[in-house]
Symmetry: none
Subunit: 228 residues, 2 copies
Amino acid sequence: MDEVRILLVEDEKKIAAALKTGMEELGFHVMIAYDGAMGERFFNNYDFDLVILDINLPDINGYALSKMIRQRKRDIPILMLTALGSVEDKVEGFEAGADDYLVKPFAFKELIARIKSLLRRSIHGLPGGPVLKIADLEMNLDSKDVFRSGNKISLTAKEFQLLEYLVRNKNRVVSRADIAGKVWDIGFDTGTNVIDVYINFLRKKIDKDYPLKLIHTQVGMGYIMKET
Amino acid sequence: MDEVRILLVEDEKKIAAALKTGMEELGFHVMIAYDGAMGERFFNNYDFDLVILDINLPDINGYALSKMIRQRKRDIPILMLTALGSVEDKVEGFEAGADDYLVKPFAFKELIARIKSLLRRSIHGLPGGPVLKIADLEMNLDSKDVFRSGNKISLTAKEFQLLEYLVRNKNRVVSRADIAGKVWDIGFDTGTNVIDVYINFLRKKIDKDYPLKLIHTQVGMGYIMKET
DNA sequence: GGGTATTTTAATCGAATCTTAATTAGTTAC
DNA sequence: GTAACTAATTAAGATTCGATTAAAATACCC
């Protein structure tokens, strides 16, 4: 999730500054608007991935601003952040188009968790794009993409399965019998050496060009994937 | 938004019954599971638009169930409903894939407002026209019109269904078995190759005349739709 | 009911992938 | 240090997989 831009509309300068600092430490890019008109202007002139709205603003109130934003860009996540905690306020907030509603005072961590949950849906498509990692190796289980140090590596189906099994069991020695059972559907009584061959395929694609080797042999035991 | 089906996993029967009644009065169709295993079973056997999860369940806990649901169907909204109100609990909930987290006791109206907000976002109920997009390809689910770079493409019913499934799962490899189950109602044990044939039909209509191909084959895995 | 459009089955061809097998290299144990 | 074993590597053969085409079966429409 790179370059997430957040518009924060909040009139209490101290709170706004604190939130901005906290969020920027997490890598978000935050822009503060101190009133509704400013919020509207910013929204119209820049591109944001998410909006955080206070309700009680000096001029335009948050509900109105939310509706305006929804009209103009119906898929941007809006999170309302306010001292108004009654059920009616919340319902009104949601009806104005909010995707989430958080009552002050709140824990910063909860805010972040909710922001991430919202972004998960809107930015990188849908939630849970599961990615396995070890060192600089990444496997995307959805798209079946594999990257080493950012370079794309294309694997065949079996290679992918084997690598997935190894990475899932990283820092743990897996025997050939384990692999045979999980990746191939065989019991490993057969005198085949497919596994060795495939380990070789993987090493060529994954380790060969990199000084840091990830696949290691434990003679007499099996293979292990680790960074050290 | 017609026929919204909600899965409610909640072990306290009184609460579950009360919620079900309340929601059904609003036109939702609710199914109750009294423990995690039951929830999992229901989830696997029926189609839902939203899941409401209690955390403290007799057997499997809500976090685990949430992760399981996310893996299987990553676009369904999950709302956690629980007595655990600490920030850590909430963060854990969101990390397990929840889209919203509501602490008991709560106002029924707030629950409804949050449910509606989630449904509004989830694909089916997006306001303002159901149009799926990827790159310069657009599918209007209402009018069943399909455009590539503004040029109208006419598809047959099955072609449309298949394309819709692929586009909904863009950037994700879908296996033939997935497709067989969702687009055709078959289990893919049959040795048919309809899917391959239809992929071929789609490619001719959608990709043939354009340099940027959208339908890609992952040999041994399935098909994926992506721009790159 | 006839004719067209759509869906499905079937068969072919070529290429990608998987597997086997044999050789070379490396490791362990005595 | 050498025998015995274990693993790495390579190349070739076997098999599967997918694209494509054509034809058959089914559904649809007037």
